[in-house]
């Protein structure tokens, strides 16, 4: 509510005393930029006139089709990269997390390294990515994976450590040995920890991807980060802020709707949700 008030004041301030819009964009301008990126051309930012918010001047080459728009395609491309890279991250981080939990020497070797690397901003992997893969799709994936799998490995390891030994004994007693013990006892027992690990890993992955896309302008596939860079190159701050808002919204939606819901259901199952 208070945010609506701030936005309205911001908008009014501009309307009463226009400043140069390339210094700092105003709300309706951002809305229009985003809609334009979706191939919807509309003029909320124009002064109030008859027929507002339709544009006063019809564009010479009107853009058509939301699905073919830059923003929609960008979201799809970034989403695809995210799913692929995060998937690899889960497999890699998951298996290393299990190994670190199971074998102490492994943990002593990798644990501190992973904790250290986890603090490294993912964009720092860009030079390595370029020298390894060149200016290619794989380099972006590499940055994403390096940015997220340490967190997954560490949190999975810590989660597995908190499993009560009694579950393992009960599983053994009931004939769950070897891989069955892992699949039917340890994995489900680790679910709460795994879920918060994935949640954390996801936000790392999303941030890494946006950073990587922002830096890699060479790809033919334009993700959200690339669009952000385009906005910067064109000095179009409305686009820049608009894309940032989209990034935040996607990140939050995934965090709240996917992982938040998952966590809620798991903690209900396990009776961890407080309400007994």
């Amino acid at each position: 509510m208070i945010w609506l008030l701030i936005l309205a004041t911001w908008e009014m301030a501009f309307r009463i005393h226009p400043w140069k819009d390339y210094y700092f964009p105003y709300p309706t301008q951002i809305v229009d930029s985003l809609l334009d990126l979706l191939n919807i051309q509309i003029g909320f930012h124009e002064p109030l006139h008859h027929g507002w918010p339709w544009l006063t001047q019809i564009p010479a080459h009107p853009k058509r089709g939301v699905f073919r728009s830059e923003l929609f395609q960008g979201i799809l491309i970034s989403g695809g990269r995210l799913l692929g890279g995060f998937g690899v991250s889960i497999l890699l981080g998951g298996s290393l997390g299990v190994l670190m939990w199971r074998f102490t020497p492994f943990n002593e070797f990798l644990g501190p390294l992973f904790l250290g690397l986890q603090t490294l901003p993912s964009v720092c992997w860009v030079p390595v990515a370029i020298s390894l893969f060149g200016l290619q799709e794989r380099a972006i994936q590499f940055v994403l994976i390096m940015g997220s799998f340490f967190a997954i490995a560490i949190s999975l390891r810590d989660g597995l450590r908190t499993i009560p030994p009694l579950y393992q004994r009960a599983g053994l007693m009931l004939g769950a040995s070897g891989w069955k013990l892992y699949l039917y006892v340890l994995l489900p027992a680790a679910l709460p920890a795994l879920c918060s690990g994935l949640r954390q890993g996801f936000s790392f992955a999303w941030r890494s991807l946006m950073g990587a896309e922002f830096v890699f302008q060479y790809s033919a596939l334009h993700g959200l980060g690339n669009l952000l860079k385009d906005g910067q190159d064109q000095n179009d701050d409305a686009v820049v802020i608009g894309i940032m808002i989209v990034m935040v919204m996607i990140g939050m939606a995934a965090d709240r709707l996917v992982f938040g819901q998952l966590e809620k259901r798991i903690s209900h199952r396990f009776g961890l949700s407080g309400a007994k």
């Binding site: 009694l166 579950y167 004994r169 009960a170 053994l172 007693m173 009931l174 004939g175 769950a176 040995s177 069955k180 039917y184 006892v185 489900p188 027992a189 679910l191 199952r269 396990f270 009776g271 007994k276």
Partner: protein, 299 residues
């Protein structure tokens, strides 16, 4: 279902633990020294002793969770090397899986054994019915009370049709009323199935209520002090004179032993430990004699 269990049980469940030694790292006193204990098929044996006497260790050796340092353990002639569903265990802290419903928890062992879904659901439902939980099959573990959880744990163990049922202070964490209720139910269950049960507790009252035979264990090091046959018929009236008398008898005896050893240990310095150990004579066949004079008639 019930008759099935009863018929398959006959002749199974001869658990033999022979001169078991067990030391734990970092402990100067052995947890168990020369402990021998065996069960007959269909017998209800309760091991009683103070905390730290190694009774849980003994049970874990029978379960195959721990290996003894010396001596050997076997079930129906086969050596015990690792945990298995023929020696199903009920833990003090239930150890049920919170991510599964009550029914799925009971099904778990059957699933591991590769029993087809339909059959295992039927068997699990029947086992839950036996512990009077037919209406709670779909409940999650945290939705059940402490007593109900232990009943699910018992059903989970029974459904495997184990040769011997191992129970590690299963009712210690429950309130007195629930405990009495579960004693009644366990007794009824045992009468119906005639499972061999090895039950560990620190409560003499619990032991007298349930056992055919009580094995008294003492601590530092853990040793069998005495075995007492309980010549009362099942089902028992827990409030009956015989039960209460036997409880106080066994309790007094244990207290006397403890006091005697404590006194011996206090009166000696460093050599005291050895003397105290000498006081612990292994159980003799005489110990198995019931106490007819103390129990009156009706036995």
């Amino acid at each position: 279902m019930i008759s099935d269990l009863a018929s398959t049980t006959s002749g199974r469940g001869r658990l033999v633990l022979e001169s078991i030694d067990k030391n734990f790292e970092g402990s100067t006193v052995p947890a168990l020294r020369g402990v021998s204990l065996s069960t007959m098929a269909g017998e209800f044996v309760v091991v009683v002793g103070p905390s730290g006497c190694g009774k849980s260790t003994l049970l874990n050796i029978a379960a195959g969770m721990l290996r003894p340092d010396a001596g050997h353990a076997s079930l129906d002639g086969k050596p015990i090397t690792r945990p298995g569903p023929d020696r199903a265990m009920v833990f003090q802290e239930h150890g049920l899986f919170p991510w599964l419903s009550a029914l799925a928890n009971v099904e778990f062992g059957l699933k591991m054994a590769g029993v087809p879904r339909g059959e295992r659901q039927d068997r699990a439902a029947a086992a839950l019915k036996m512990v009077h939980l037919a209406n709670s099959t779909g409940k999650l573990i945290h939705e059940l009370s402490g007593g109900m959880r232990q009943r699910v744990a018992i059903a989970r163990a029974l459904v495997m049709d184990p040769a011997v049922l191992l129970m590690d202070e299963p009712f210690a964490a429950l309130d007195a009323q629930t405990r009495t209720l579960l004693h009644e139910q366990l007794q009824e269950l045992w009468i119906r199935t005639r499972k061999t049960i090895l039950f560990v507790t620190h409560s003499v009252g619990e032991a007298v209520r349930l056992a055919d035979r009580i094995v008294v264990l003492h601590a530092h090091p853990g040793r069998v002090r005495r075995q007492i046959l309980v010549p009362l018929q099942h089902p028992r009236d827990f409030d009956s004179k015989q039960v209460t008398e036997l409880v106080s008898l066994v309790r007094t005896e244990i207290e006397q032993e403890v006091n005697r050893v404590n006194a011996a240990m206090a009166s000696k310095d460093s050599a005291g430990k050895n003397l105290a150990e000498d006081l612990w004579q292994p159980a003799t066949p005489d110990d198995l004699a019931p106490h007819p004079g103390d129990l009156g008639d009706g036995i």
